[in-house]
Amino acid sequence: MEIKDALSGIDDDSLVKDLLKRLKDELQGYPSSLRFMEVCGTHTMSVFRHGLRSLLPDKIDLLAGPGCPVCVTSAGQVDAILDLACLNGVRVATFGDLYRVPGSQGSLALASASGGKVDIVYSPVDALQLAKNNPSEFVVFLGVGFETTIPGVAATVREAAGSKIDNFAVFSAHKTMPPALDALFTDDASRIDGLLCPGHVSAIIGACAYKPLADKYEFPCVVAGFEPADILQGLIMLVRQKKRGIASVENAYSRVVSWQGNKSALEMIDSVFQVCDTAWRGLGVIPASGLAVRPEFASYNAQKRLNVEEKMVSEPPGCLCGSILKGESVPAACPLFGRTCTPVNPVGPCMVSSEGSCAAYHRYGGVDRKS
């Protein structure tokens, strides 16, 4: 277990048991139940993979918010991506996550079946390598992701520019977390009692990014890591704040996250991308929540270079993904869930991504679902 040498013990079941007991003790005497929201797909996955929900006290309801970048990629963006994939001489490189996400016209899987060239990559660097290896093709990297992923894409664009690689561009569907969280609660913040903040996004933007949210909406924010023990620590800190009636930002993932964040990564983002408005699946257009390639790097902007436009596409009728992402509904409440919308034949994005709330509920639910 070299990877966890320094952390050996974090997955001790005795540590987890003690933390669970502590959480129950903290809740003793708290008059009502508590609804916390996590906004990170990896939190969603970890909770389900470890069966954590089945162990949590009944008083805690943990909701999955819009934390999966694939789930929030709008149907219009997916349609534009499909147009790209079907252009002659174009080869799209994507993270595996996006491969089955449906737009209104189908998914990349279908584009591939229809003759489009689609490559799965692990890193944007691999996409650039693909361009170097295939000078006669134009490689488009599909940039989806939040602040964790974006600096690496920016560094790759800088590398392409530095080495004058001409057959490479990025389709930027990137999104930033704080504006979306603000939009999520702006009409009604009373739905939740606290926010479990995403550990790896916070490694870049810093715990300080949640201060305005905590101040404005008066709910506690705790940054948490991804081991069950990390998540439990985050929940305990949220409960303690509720008991004291305070709403501040705390960091339960200090081994990775600092208050100020990662300055060099933020500068890297800023050097290549500029803020723009962007559409989120189910949430609509959120001002200043997207990132577009700066004019200085225009030749690496796939939208500009290949002249593809995002279309306005309405959501599939009946699909509750938007309201599920906001924490207003649970997957089971959706009329399509488990009927027309299944992991094999997903209608909405929350079913497609393995991190999506619906896919996770469908896959692991039943045993550990409480509602």
């Binding site: 069966g51 954590l52 692990y122 896959r363 550990d368």
Partner: protein, 356 residues
């Protein structure tokens, strides 16, 4: 095993440069004429020499087979063709032998169908034929009949193989995925996901260094010993290939109309495989194995079965991973490492590496 061959992992160079290799497969090699004969005798007969093949007849006469005849077929389209721990040739022998063994059968012979793309390297074809021959020798089976076709360049992905297998099972032995009974123990013969990870990490776009090795191996010797000592107590056998252990357990639970419960802490995974899975965001439970089996056996005989399996190289890491329950029918649950419970569902689509 039919690994999805259409997905690219950033490994194709697609270079427009054309290099003439005089040692390539030509359309003529599939014509049925002299070139075909030469290919068959140079590449296949020389390696697979046996009395069934020698006469180059249209079909093989196997003669009398004792017990009930067991018959199976599988096609092999793995990408890449050569991977750490094996290649498409040995895989096509092991895979079909294992399919026979999972019904308790003793394999007797296989057929071999090759569909080769024009321009395929003769040297690679020789290598694959030698690998098929080696796997047959080690397993004690023969290729009794075969066929070779060549398709035009661009109409195939190098080479596809199909093997069908004939075996026999005694009149009084029936093992089936529909025969798991509440109370039975579930044994897994060794570590999970080694084949799946060996394939994924040998696709250049996902390269990482590590001692990855496919587990491709024949299981019929070990299964033969189990059947001999434990017939009647041995209820189901399954090789968890595509879809992994998770999907196989779901299939058993549903066809036997029982429930299954497994313990996460008991599941054997090599540390390199686990490490690669963590990086790629994949779960070992859902990745392919090509030399492992699930054994469902009456509780009283589970320890004896374990002992028999652990005495063989292919079963030395065998462990009990869980047990069969009354139900609910078709439900597979796992007690997680931290004592939580989660439902195990069958795999929905090809497992793709994810970063988000």
């Amino acid at each position: 095993m039919k690994t999805n061959g259409n997905l690219n992992y950033g490994h194709q160079t697609g270079s427009n440069e054309k290099v003439v290799d005089k040692d390539s497969i030509l359309l003529d090699h599939g014509s049925g004429g002299l070139a075909s004969q030469k290919l068959v005798s140079d590449i296949f007969l020389s390696q697979l020499d046996n009395p069934f093949l020698a006469g180059l007849e249209d079909s093989a006469v196997l003669g009398k087979i004792e017990g009930r005849v067991v018959f199976t077929t599988d096609s092999y389209v793995v990408d890449p063709l050569f991977f750490p721990g094996g290649d498409i040739g040995s895989l096509s022998v092991h895979g079909t032998i294992n399919d026979l063994a999972m019904r308790g059968a003793r394999p007797i012979c296989l057929s071999l169908g090759c569909i080769i793309e024009e321009g395929f390297s003769m040297a690679d074809l020789k290598r694959i034929a030698a690998s098929i021959a080696g796997a047959c020798r080690e397993s004690g089976v023969v290729i009794a009949t075969g066929d070779t076709k060549v398709v035009p360049r661009g109409k195939g992905d190098g080479i596809y193989l199909n093997t069908s297998g004939v075996g026999s099972v005694p009149e009084d032995l029936t093992v089936s995925t529909s025969l798991a009974r509440p109370g039975d123990k579930i044994i897994l013969s060794g570590t999970m996901a080694d084949h799946g990870i060996a394939i994924l990490t040998s696709r250049t776009g996902l390269t990482m260094e590590g001692d990855f090795r496919s587990d491709s191996q024949p299981l019929h010797f070990m299964v033969g010993e189990l059947c001999e000592s434990l017939a009647g107590n041995l209820h189901s056998l399954r090789d968890p290939t595509r879809g992994g252990v998770a999907t196989s357990l779901c299939e058993i639970a549903s066809s036997s109309r029982v429930g299954i419960i497994i313990e996460e802490s008991a599941l054997p995974v090599r540390s390199q495989t686990r490490g690669a899975c963590e990086i790629l965001g994949l779960e070992p439970l859902y990745l392919a194995n090509e030399g492992k089996c699930l054994v469902i056996i009456r509780e009283e005989k589970a320890e004896l079965a374990l002992e028999i399996m652990r005495n063989r190289l292919e079963g030395r890491d065998a462990v009990i991973i869980g047990s069969v329950t009354e139900g609910p029918e078709g439900r597979v649950e796992m007690i997680t490492g931290i004592g939580g419970r989660r439902l195990i569902a069958p795999l929905a689509g090809e497992p793709l590496p994810r970063i988000c």
